[in-house]
């Protein structure tokens, strides 16, 4: 109970800080919006490829871009932890009775809340530019849950890295290095069966792809719920592993001080 309450306090602290700098949330939306609007136009003709089916490219792209927005914003979550370390806030929290789990869970929860808000915005923009979600409201909710799970897992990982590296440059490097390949090695832009063989294998192992597949499957016309649930299960397991790593990373940080 105490841990849950503390998680809530820590998440509220972060959400309040975010509320005071809404432009930051807006900034992380710029890139996915550009992808949705520009790529949607640029690759319109992709759907003429044999085997792509008859949906519009923007409809195909929409779930992928929603997941991308989660990835883009949650990867930076560790920045707040680096600021806390530099400002002495982390040290103060670590010598108070709050548990390490609550410190991570609070950050992750805040990230998930932001991802949900962003995903809703992205879905609305996608609808406005002509995408459709035949899976209906339930499908969209599953898409947003997948987005939140992936965002939470990456937020936890970002915090783990922040605690171990303790430098903005390292985190910026890692996030930029990871985000684009994970996006391209997925079915965000191109159907899986049209990817080269090795990329198909890579995408099967790519958590970003699990989230995209779950979302696209659930929002599509004929949903394979078994596959959706297993994708969501993998995402939940990934979140658990990343959170465990992040909690452990406090040990690495404390050994350095």
């Amino acid at each position: 109970m105490t841990t849950l309450r503390h998680t809530g306090y820590m998440a509220l602290r972060d959400l309040r800080a975010m509320w005071r700098q809404p432009w930051y949330v807006a900034m992380t939306l710029v890139q996915p919006l550009i992808w949705l609007l520009l790529f949607g136009e640029l690759f319109k003709a992709v759907t003429d490829l044999p085997g792509f089916g008859d949906e519009s490219y923007i409809a195909y792209l929409a779930p992928g871009v929603v997941i991308m927005s989660a990835l883009f914003s949650s990867g930076w979550n560790g920045m707040a932890t680096i600021e806390d370390i530099d400002g002495g806030v982390t040290d103060r929290l670590l010598v108070s009775p709050v548990s390490r789990f609550a410190l991570i869970a609070g950050r992750v929860l805040q990230s998930a809340v932001v991802v949900v808000i962003q995903s809703v915005i992205m879905v609305l923009v996608a609808l406005a530019v002509g995408a459709s979600f035949p899976g209906g409201v339930v499908g969209v909710i599953v898409l947003i849950v997948a987005s939140a799970l992936l965002g939470a897992a990456f937020a936890a990982l970002s915090n783990a890295l922040a605690l171990v590296a303790r430098q903005r440059e390292s985190l910026i490097g890692a996030v930029t290095f990871v985000v684009l390949p994970l996006t391209f090695l997925s079915t965000a832009l191109m159907r899986g069966d049209l990817l080269p063989g090795w990329m198909q294998t890579a995408s099967d192992l790519n958590p970003v792809d699990w989230a995209i597949e779950a979302g696209r499957n659930a929002t599509g016309a004929s949903t394979d719920w078994g596959s959706v649930l297993s994708d969501l299960g993998f995402l939940a397991a990934l979140l658990a592993v990343c959170a465990w790593l992040a909690v452990r990373a406090f040990g690495s940080y404390q050994r350095s001080v």
């Binding site: 602290r13 005071r20 400002g87 002495g88 040290d91 108070s96 009775p97 001080v257």
Partner: protein
């Protein structure tokens, strides 16, 4: 807080050792005993190991060897208990700069499991006490250095701790703000009966605030006692001579015949020595230096200070060690 715990030392540490990667030995067998209800100062230059000791005592860091108890709880096996009875003010602020002063205080209280009316009342009381009521709902980023420091102390006190750690609380503050902070620390000891461990590299600060102090050098306590005891260990006055030029060896040779002069140390162009009656020794010293061909720029005589105590126990002057 007058409780039955008064006979338990606020802090009791023995043989603390801490080595950082790269073979940096920050603590080298540090022993410490702080009686409850006193202000105890750890005095030493930067890098002496004071902050490392505080990090271990506050459960942030773990010693490689040795043991420590705070308010009777072991800092390793009873870390959770220690965290409920200590308040910490680190060298760096520790307040969330994007939140208001009140939000910072409330969160700190919530993490100590205070809630509802009790917490609200305590936060208001602290805001009042530390003169932050008008700024309570402003973002901490907009606070002055002194206000931020006062908020840091208020945050450390929310849950009415038994032992307060102040790690260089006045470093980087303006002189007026520093004096104001000293008054506040004295008040805390007087009115709240807190045990306070203070680290400082200001001799003046330790002299004024501490009822007892330990001089830390290279990870060990080299001397301890009340400021008066430490100063009275030194017999006689300090003689301080600034030379016009470096005089390698000439000073020692010139002063060797003078029986009145003890504890002679030459660092660059500064000469320090001790004599029972400084006023009588000065002409002799000046005469000897002149006939030794050493040119003098200025000379002062002073009653013993903690600086002298430091010099005596470490073989270095305080300014020298700070470099």
């Amino acid at each position: 807080m007058k409780t039955s715990l008064d006979h338990i030392p606020a802090i009791d540490a023995a043989g603390l050792v801490k080595t950082y990667p790269g073979d940096v030995r920050a603590l080298d067998g540090l022993d410490l005993s702080v009686p409850a209800g006193t202000i105890f100062a750890l005095l030493g230059p930067n890098g002496a190991g004071k902050s490392t000791a505080v990090r271990i005592l506050t459960t942030l860091s773990r010693a490689d060897a040795g043991s420590a108890r705070v308010a009777g709880h072991d800092v390793v096996t009873g870390a959770g208990l220690v965290r409920r009875v200590i308040g910490c003010v680190g060298q760096r602020s520790g307040a969330d700069r994007e939140a208001t002063g009140r939000e910072n205080l409330v969160l700190q209280g919530q993490l100590q499991d205070m809630r509802g009316r009790e917490l609200t009342a305590r936060v208001d009381e602290l805001l009042e006490q530390f003169g932050l009521m008008d700024a309570a709902d402003r973002i901490v980023k907009t606070y002055s250095g002194g206000m931020q420091r006062r908020l840091d102390i208020a945050m450390a006190l929310v849950h009415r701790p038994q032992v307060l750690f102040l790690d260089e609380p006045t470093t980087g503050l303006d002189p007026e703000v520093r004096v104001e902070m000293w008054r506040e620390i004295e008040r805390l000891k007087r009115e709240e009966g807190l045990s306070i461990l203070l680290t400082t590299h200001y001799l003046e600060e330790a002299d004024r605030l501490a009822s007892e102090l330990a001089i830390v050098d290279r990870g060990r306590v080299v001397a301890g006692g009340t400021p008066e005891e430490l100063k009275s260990e030194l017999r006689g006055d300090a003689i301080n001579v600034e030379l016009a030029f470096r005089a390698n060896g000439a000073v020692e040779a010139a002063l060797a015949p003078l029986g009145e002069i003890r504890e002679l140390v030459v660092e660059g162009t500064t000469l320090r020595a001790r004599a029972d009656e400084g006023a009588r020794a000065v002409p002799l010293v000046l005469g000897a230096l002149e006939s030794g061909g050493v040119e003098v720029a200025s000379v002062t005589v002073a009653r013993p200070s903690l600086d002298d105590v430091y010099l005596r126990h470490t073989g270095r002057s305080f300014e020298e060690a700070e470099r």
